[in-house]
Amino acid sequence: MHLTDAQYERIARFLDGQAAEPAPDELAAAEEIRRDEAAVGALLAAPLGALRLERVARRAMLAEVRRDAAAVAALLDVPAPRAALDRAHRRVTAELARPQRVLFRLAGAAGAVAAAAAVLLAVALWPPAGRPARVAPRAPGPVAAPAPRTEAILAAARDADDPAIGLLAIEADEVETELLASPAATGMDLRIEKLQKDVEDLWLELPPDPAPGP
């Protein structure tokens, strides 16, 4: 179908509802146009899709957020007092130094206790040279007071001019006090007693000193 411009103008006025008297072929063309428009219109009216709408809304929201945030930003900012920053740094410096101080203290205490315990054990187990140890076995029970010789040595140590020895003696006193006071004292005593018995048995198994030669 080939229509002239004048015909198309008459069809358009007819479709717009204006008074027009289309010829039969113009009327047919008008009906065809109405049908095509109805078919395409349904496609044109398809929704953007929920996701796309959300994106559009979000973009608009972001723009508003940026604008509002810029307006509020200048009010939110507040200068931090120099003193607050310095105090925070001092707290951190103290915290960084703390583990080393604790470790040093622990090491020192452990060393002192170990040294004191070693002194006590040595004094209890090794009497003067030339004589085998003959310690009478004791019944299990609370830790007894130290032997007179040990006590003499500790007293001498306490009176010693050397501060290190004096300190060791004081530590030994403290360990002894703890041992006496603690419920585990019995266990320690048993261990010391066993050690003493082992030493005694050893002496008994050893051959006698060779007799002096002729």
């Binding site: 979000r58 509002d68 509020v72 939110l76 507040v78 920053l85 925070a88 707290r91 951190v92």
Partner: protein
């Protein structure tokens, strides 16, 4: 602080170098202080929280794996501390006292006893800040926190959504509504 400088700073802090911590305090202290102040409303709490956070860093940095996300990690710690502090404040509300602070950091006692010679600009600034503080207080706690983290922590919406365990859209919507409400409140309180 540039990325390389920050990386070196973190390595120094992990090695226990006090100067590295000093550099971190200088770089992030002001924003952290601002965040704490706007979140709690009190200078005393802001300073206390700043010190506490730096102490926590000493322990947490030892196991920190630097993947270029130091700031969000730092402000995540700050946000958790603020929540704990606010929870405690609600559980033990302090009665008003002479030692309660104004927004400028001066206690009521100091204000009463101070000579009445303050520059008008300071007063106006303090008034505006006080209005903002009141407006922030009217927001719902999570919304307020999100707005503050966006501003002071420079966190992305994605990071905020992860922190608050909510959808990205929810994070954006909350900030959007919160800022709008804030602007409206400020506009209503502004002098004519």
């Amino acid at each position: 602080m540039g990325p390389d400088q920050l990386r070196a700073c973190i390595a120094g802090a992990q090695a226990g170098d006090p100067e590295a911590y000093r550099a971190l305090i200088e770089a992030y202290g002001p924003r952290l202080y601002g965040f704490f102040l706007r979140a709690t409303g009190r200078h005393h709490d802001a300073e206390d929280l700043l010190g506490e956070l730096m102490l926590r860093l000493v322990a947490k940095l030892r196991s920190y794996d630097d993947r270029g996300r130091f700031e969000p990690w730092l402000f995540r710690i700050a946000a958790n501390m603020v929540r704990d502090r606010i929870r405690r404040m609600r559980a033990n509300p302090e009665p008003a006292s002479l030692f309660a602070e104004s927004d400028g950091g001066a206690t009521l006692e100091e204000q009463v006893l101070a000579p009445p010679r303050r520059v008008e600009a300071d007063l106006l600034a303090e008034e505006a800040s006080g209005e903002l503080h009141a407006a922030l207080g009217k927001l719902e706690a999570t919304t307020r926190e999100m707005i503050l983290l966006r501003h002071f922590g420079q966190m992305s919406f994605k990071e905020i959504a992860e922190l608050f365990d909510c959808p990205l859209g929810t994070a954006l919507a909350r900030v959007h509504r919160g800022l709008r409400a804030l602007r409206e409140l400020m506009r209503r309180n502004a002098p004519d």
